[in-house]
Amino acid sequence: MSQELNLKDKLGLNVFKPDKQHHVAIKPGRERDPRLLMAISVCPAGLYSLGPEGKVELTRDGCLECGTCRIACGTDVLDWNYPAGGAGVQYRFG
């Protein structure tokens, strides 16, 4: 365990099942909303990043469905739902 485990590798250890639709989405026109900036630092899966032109971007894979972004950013800027039944992360240990 001496070397740092890269976040992508770490998420790669989890079992994810694909969803037809992405369950969390940035509301159109809210990509530059300061409330959304919060998601970049709080997301435990590091799925939010700042793209060109100051727009926040959301990576689709690796969501842990923890709900932190929904609490931190709010539902004015995020369309937030759980993945469809049987999709998304399936924790083996939890």
């Binding site: 435990p44 469905e65 399936q90």
Partner: protein, 427 residues
Amino acid sequence: MEKFDVIIVGGGLAGLAAAYTLAERELEVLVLERGDYSGAKNVTGGRIYLNPVRELWPGLFNQPPLERFIAHEQAMIMARGRSVTLRYDGSELSSEPYQSYSVLRGKFDKWLAKQAERKGAMLVTKSRVDDVIIENGKVVGVRAGGDELGADVIIACDGVLSLTAEKAGLRKPGRPVDYAVGFKEVIELDRNVIEDRFLLEGDEGAACLFMGDVTRGKFGGGFLYTNRESLSLGIVVGIKDLMEDELAATPDMLERFKQRPEIARMIKGGQTAEYSAHVIPEGGYKALTRLYGDGILVAGDAAGFSLNIGVTVRGMEYALASGYYAAQAVLIAREAGDFSRNMLAHYEVLLNNSFILKDFKTFQNAPEVLENPRLFQHYPELIGGIMQDIYQIPDGAKPPLYKTVKKYINFREMLAMAGDLRKVSKI
């Protein structure tokens, strides 16, 4: 519309406890679970206290599929570059019935689901509830995967965000100040190594909490629980504090924590098997959501039943017990043939008379008191500094111990400490 006596949204601990209790009384119970199996969407830090819930279902927890019984409690105060550890061993922790166990939800929830099914509850997995059906102001069913399913009463046990309770108008999306996020790794390690490293005999387990530098002054701390053949290592941190720290990057906090020599030694040779995260209700009594409405009850994390009082962090036994009391309220309502909110208010009465709301009222000031940043940065550094100077032998003469301590605790510091102590005394 297909009709059941009770529909339970969410097959976690609250939902399964309610299902088990109602199925035992031969009600037709449907549990809708969005994961592939119960436990697939659940995350715990890792320990459950069984004492408060054992008597609710005599015999059920005689041989629970849990990890290790916690026989050793450890707290580490972390300053930058140094730490102080307190370990508590008590004979009561090693005598049956054991007070608490480390737990992995993947296994435990699956087992509880099987017990509920054996009693006759119907569990449908891979089923997400999309909406509640409301008629004349009363919840009469749910929509799930295109189906409309009806019931006399719905129990929302769909976790901390409870979109079900939100759609039923019982709550609004939560405020950052009332929630924390926990994130952890399950690190596989040979069981003999675990036992040697943590000084455990057989099935004994250790629980370690860490405060201070682990969150860099933010509300929260680290945790480590020994499982049979793995360690659960993680961090809980307040979402509001996380938002106020521009330099915070949540995933990096855990990596930094693992790099601390104290932690690196504990997990050495281990292989990370899973990385998980979940929001936790931390607002206590004042942040509880509405517990019932017409045709609906709310239990477990969905209601906010998780309590952090600094030395212990508890949630799962509140989930189990609130599921039990929700079921009792359903039975009372059924007897009366009335599922209106007036009748379902019995739920709150039952909770008030139980350890759940008694605990929440006793510790209602805990969230405010624990918000004090001095607890998470100033004191750990202070204690670390004092220890450093006490143990240090300089290259010349050593000053008197009293002087050494007094350097840290001057009059101003004493005043501030007295103030903090007065606040802490409210817990």
